[in-house]
C-alpha cells in the first residue's frame, strides 16, 4: 500500500540553490518504504509505506495490541524492520514520550532531574551536563506549563503533571520529531484536552513534527493533520489526510462496525454505533 504523499519531487530536480534549500527543508525526516514490522521472525504488519515531514502532525490509531507501538519503534529506528527500507536523509533529533505508567515513580528524582535527561543524548557519552543544558531543560518545563515545579519530586506529581514533565523532557532535547506513545492514556477528559492543546501549541510554535499513537480516535481527531490506521489482526494499514481518513467507510473498516462522525461547534466527534456491524 503506497501512501502517495511522499517525496513529491515529481521526477523534476529543483532548479536553483534556493529551491534546493527549500526542498532540503521540506524533505521527509524519516521514510519507510514497503516495510514489514515484527519481532524475531514473526511479521505483524507488511506493506507499510510512510514518511514523516518536518511539520507533520500524524496520529497513529488502532486497537490495543494492534501494532501501533511496534510501528512507532520501527519508525524511530529502535526496532529494525523485517524487510523493506527505512531511510533518513540526516540524523534526526527525537524527543520521545513513553506511556506514563512505563516510567517508574520509585526513583527519587525531581521534575528537573527527569527533564534534564532530555539533554543526555545531545551532550554525548561521558560529558557532564552543563548549566546551559539545565537552562534549556528549565525552559522546556516552562513550555509544558510546569515552570514552578522544577524541584518537585516526580513521584509527588499528579498524573497530568507527570505526563507534561515527560513531554518537557522530550522538548529539552530540542527535537525535530516529537514521538508520543499514548500520551493521554488514563487521563480524565479535562487533562486529556489540556495535554492535546499543549501538543497543538507546541506543534504550531515551530518546526516540530509530531507523531503520536493512540487507541482513542476521539482524542486525536481534532488535532492531527494526518491519520494512520493500524490493526495487525485485520492486516490493516492505511494513512492519509485527516479529512479522508475520518470518513465513516474508513472508520467502519478500522472498528469493524458502523461509525458516525459529527461536527459540533468546530469539534469532531466519532461514535461507533452500538450493535451495528459494518
Amino acid at each position: 500500500m503506497k501512501e502517495g504523499l511522499d517525496l513529491a519531487t515529481g521526477g523534476n530536480p529543483p532548479s536553483g540553490p534556493a529551491a534546493r534549500a527549500k526542498q532540503a527543508r521540506m524533505a521527509p525526516l524519516i521514510r519507510m518504504e514497503d516495510v514489514t514490522i515484527g519481532y524475531g521472525r514473526v511479521a505483524l504488519l507488511s506493506g507499510v509505506t510512510l514518511s514523516v515531514d518536518p511539520d507533520d502532525f500524524l496520529a497513529i490509531v488502532g486497537p490495543n495490541g494492534g501494532g501501533k507501538t511496534t510501528l512507532l519503534r520501527a519508525l524511530l529506528g529502535t526496532l529494525p524492520p523485517l524487510s523493506g527500507r527505512r531511510e533518513q536523509v540526516a540524523p534526526v533529533t527525537v524527543g520521545y514520550v513513553p506511556q506514563r505508567d512505563h516510567v517508574d515513580a520509585l526513583w527519587p528524582l525531581t521534575a528537573g532531574d527527569v527533564v534534564t535527561m532530555g539533554r543526555v543524548a545531545g551532550r554525548g557519552a561521558g560529558k557532564r551536563i552543563r548549566p546551559e543544558d539545565r537552562e534549556r531543560a528549565r525552559e522546556a518545563l516552562g513550555r509544558a506549563g510546569l515552570g514552578d515545579l522544577w524541584e518537585r519530586p516526580f513521584r509527588d506529581l499528579s498524573g497530568g503533571q507527570r505526563q507534561r514533565t515527560l513531554i518537557a523532557r522530550a522538548l529539552a532535547a530540542e527535537p525535530q520529531l516529537l514521538a508520543l506513545d499514548e500520551p493521554t492514556n488514563g487521563m480524565d477528559p479535562a487533562a486529556e484536552l489540556s495535554a492535546m492543546d499543549l501538543l497543538r501549541a507546541l506543534h504550531a510554535s515551530g518546526r516540530l513534527a509530531v507523531v503520536m499513537i493512540s487507541h482513542r480516535l476521539e482524542a486525536v481527531a481534532n488535532y492531527a493533520r494526518r491519520l494512520a490506521f493500524v490493526d495487525k489482526d485485520q492486516g490493516l494499514w492505511r494513512v492519509g489526510p485527516l479529512a479522508e481518513m475520518l470518513r465513516p467507510a474508513e472508520l467502519s473498516r478500522l472498528y469493524g462496525r458502523e461509525v458516525l462522525v459529527r461536527e459540533e461547534d468546530g469539534r469532531r466527534f466519532v461514535y461507533p454505533v452500538s450493535g451495528a456491524k459494518a
Binding site: 520521545y96 516510567v103 527519587p108 543524548a121
Partner: protein, 281 residues
C-alpha cells in the same frame, strides 16, 4: 582501657580485614542503589552463584585436568569471568515478549546453584575447606585481596562518575533512552558488568550473605531517608561502609560471627532510617 589496649595491640590482625570490609560495604552500598531501584535484588544472588560456579570449575579443572589454578588470583580471575560474563548477559537482555528478565535471573541462580552442588560433589582434595576458598574469611584477609578490592572499587567509582547520567537514564527509562539515541543496552550492560566485578571480590572478603545484604539494605535505607538521587548514592555508600566497620568491630570485640554481625548492623541502620523518615514526615 585494658580492653582497648588489647584491641589496639591486635590492630595488625584486624586492620586489613576491616579496610576490606569497609571498601566492600561502600562499593556494594553504592551499586545497591541501582540494584534496588531497578528492582533486580536477586541479580546479586544469581551473580554470587555464578562466581562460585567459576571457582568450582577452576578447582575441578585443577583436580581432573591438571590445569594449574592453585593461586587464589587465578581462581578469582575465573570467578570474575563467570560473574561479569553473567552480569553482561543479564544486563543486556531486555524483557522478552514471552519471558520477563526476572525469569533469566531466577534460572541463572538455580542452574548455577545446582551446578555448584554437582561440581563440589566431585571435588576430592579441597572439599574440606571449600567454604573458605569460595567465600573467604573476613577474619583473615590477604593484603593482595585488599589491593584487588580497592582497585575494583576505584574502577567502579570512576566508571560511574564519568557515565552516571547515561546509566541513570538507561536505568530509569530504558525505552525513552533508546528512542532518544542513548544506547541503553550498552549502559545497562556496563552497570551489570561493574556489579559482576564487585561481587566476587567482595564475596571473597566478607562472604555471600553480607554481599547480598550490602547490595540491598544500605541502598534501601538511603532511599527511605533521601528524596534526591545524588544524596541517596552518597548516603548508601556511607551507610554500607559504616555497617561494615561497626559490624566488623562489634564482631571482633563481642566474639560474634562477622558477616552476620555486619548484616545485623545494616538492618539496624535501615530501621533507624525508617524511624527518622517517620518523624520527619
Amino acid at each position: 582501657m585494658s580492653a582497648f589496649s588489647d584491641f589496639w595491640a591486635a590492630h595488625l590482625i584486624w586492620r586489613d580485614p576491616l579496610i576490606a570490609s569497609v571498601i566492600s560495604g561502600a562499593l556494594l552500598g553504592f551499586l545497591g542503589v541501582y540494584v534496588v531501584l531497578r528492582r533486580v535484588v536477586f541479580v546479586s544472588a544469581a551473580l554470587t552463584q555464578l562466581s562460585t560456579l567459576g571457582i568450582i570449575v577452576a578447582l575441578l579443572a585443577e583436580e581432573r585436568l591438571g590445569v594449574e589454578v592453585e593461586h587464589t588470583s587465578v581462581q578469582l580471575g575465573i570467578a570474575l569471568l563467570f560473574s561479569s560474563g553473567g552480569a553482561l548477559l543479564l544486563g543486556t537482555l531486555g524483557s522478552g515478549r514471552r519471558l520477563p528478565a526476572e525469569a533469566g535471573v531466577g534460572m541463572s541462580y538455580v542452574l548455577a546453584g545446582a551446578l555448584v552442588i554437582l561440581g563440589a560433589n566431585r571435588l576430592v582434595h579441597v572439599a574440606h575447606d571449600l567454604n573458605s576458598i569460595i567465600f573467604g574469611n573476613a577474619v583473615a584477609v590477604p593484603v593482595e585481596d585488599v589491593f584487588i578490592l580497592a582497585g575494583v572499587a576505584l574502577l567502579v567509582g570512576v566508571v560511574h562518575t564519568v557515565f552516571q547520567k547515561e546509566v541513570v537514564f538507561a536505568s530509569f527509562d530504558r525505552e525513552t533512552a533508546e528512542a532518544m539515541g542513548v544506547n541503553a543496552r550498552l549502559w545497562s550492560g556496563l552497570l551489570y558488568f561493574t556489579i559482576g566485578l564487585a561481587i566476587p571480590v567482595a564475596a571473597r572478603v566478607v562472604g555471600a550473605l553480607p554481599v547480598f545484604a550490602f547490595l540491598t539494605v544500605p541502598a534501601s535505607a538511603a532511599l527511605v531517608a533521601s528524596r534526591r538521587i545524588k544524596p541517596a548514592f552518597a548516603l548508601a555508600t556511607a551507610l554500607g561502609a559504616f555497617a561494615a566497620a561497626v559490624g566488623y568491630l562489634a564482631s571482633w570485640t563481642l566474639q560474634l560471627p562477622t558477616g552476620a554481625t555486619m548484616v545485623t548492623v545494616a538492618g539496624m541502620l535501615f530501621a533507624a532510617a525508617v524511624a527518622v523518615r517517620a518523624i520527619r514526615d
